[in-house]
Amino acid sequence: MKIFLIAFLFSPIFLPAQKAQYLSFELGGSGGLASINYEKVFSQKENIALYYRTGFSFAPVDQNNGTAFIFPLMLHTKIGKDQHFLDLGLGQSISITSEGNFFIRMPTSLGYRFEPTGKKIYWRFSYTPIVSYLLDFQWEHWGGITFGHKFGI
């Protein structure tokens, strides 16, 4: 089941050509303690770009609950030009534990994105509160630092 989910998230249907794609590592942030992510720009108009990212993370809970496998799915907009961007994101993060429990939280992101000219990397520094909304509304302060690497074009 887990393998299918991961395969789906990273499957080629998400990879049409001619759009910027990144692999990124986020310390903290939407995936919890850390996550690896695939990102792809799917719309670009002047100084505004829309991109999505899908990721994977995990969190050992305890002996009874096992490990939570976490799949953050985020929609971002990137506003700016040259090297400096405002980066806003909103998504859903699905947790499935090895004992079969399931929950969803809503990660959000407000950050600064730096893309050095002539390089295929970026850095993002974000405030990434994680919101609970299913059973109770809770706003949890959190933050993240992301390093991404462009591949393809």
């Binding site: 969190a59 994680i130 299913l134 959190w142």
Partner: protein, 256 residues
């Protein structure tokens, strides 16, 4: 299209759940038991959560029985026996749990019960009472009363420091009945308080305290701003010696 259609309905259900959580997770906010009506220990768990919900006995030698030898009032109490956990990874437990209760943020919960701890062997980190929530993901976060170096303290199953007795600690008496009372104002901010009395002596008085857990990243998810279960007995014996404990005359309620 299909996803959109069902997505709307799922969202509506989630919103209704969130808005009306007190009705969805409703349950009693009081419970009294003097343990006088039971012939056998199995009778504690008769019915659909009408009395106690279940027992935890983590080792084969741990046991629970109706005792007519020791009692605080009437003629009976409940005897809990838990072996030394020795090298095991898990704690030794012999306890009774009542679930599907509902104590909400803003309310003040009171617990009053009597304990008889047999023998004089050292009992470090012997847990005697738990007030917990069943989170969807997480290890039943809550507040626990523990005996450490022969004195009671409060421990939390969420990030919050222990509350120890200030000054000279009142020794926990052995081989006699001891009355324990707790009063906990429930708050997810530092607006709650915890008071503990041992034989009517106020031994812990902690104000401006976070007394309810919240979701923590992806380690603890689905907390609701409430507690839903109480547990009495040897709720965990983590170290040292085998333990025999009697419990009688328990009462849990929300103060008006």
């Amino acid at each position: 299209m299909i996803i959109g259609k069902y997505g709307i309905w799922i969202s509506v259900v989630f919103l209704l759940l969130n808005c009306d959580k007190e009705r969805f997770f409703e349950g009693p906010d009081q419970y009294i038991d003097d343990f006088e009506s039971y012939e056998l220990v199995d009778e504690l768990f008769f019915g659909d959560n009408e009395k106690w919900s279940f027992t935890q006995q983590t080792f084969e030698g741990n046991s629970l029985s109706v005792s007519r030898e020791k009692f605080h009032s009437g003629t009976q109490s409940i005897k809990f026996s838990a072996l030394n956990p020795s090298d095991s990874d898990s704690a030794s437990k012999a306890s009774i749990v009542k679930q599907k209760m509902a104590f909400w943020e803003g309310e003040t919960v009171s617990a009053d019960f009597w304990i008889y701890l047999e023998g004089n062997e050292e009992s470090n980190w012997l847990f005697l009472f738990d007030l917990e929530e069943q989170a969807t993901i997480g290890a039943g976060p809550g507040i626990r009363l523990a005996l450490v170096e022969n004195a009671l303290l409060i421990e939390h199953k969420y990030p919050n420091p222990n509350i120890e007795q200030k000054g000279e600690k009142l020794r926990f008496p052995r081989d006699e009945w001891v009355n324990i009372q707790l009063e906990i104002k429930l708050s997810r901010k530092k607006e709650g308080y915890i008071k503990v009395w041992q034989n009517e002596n106020l031994i812990i008085d902690q104000s401006k305290w976070k007394t309810l857990p919240k979701d923590i990243l992806y380690f603890q998810q689905g907390t609701k701003g409430m507690y839903s279960s109480v547990e009495f007995g040897i709720t965990a014996n983590t170290l040292d010696n085998p333990t025999v404990l009697y419990v009688d005359d328990v009462e849990v309620k929300v103060l008006e």
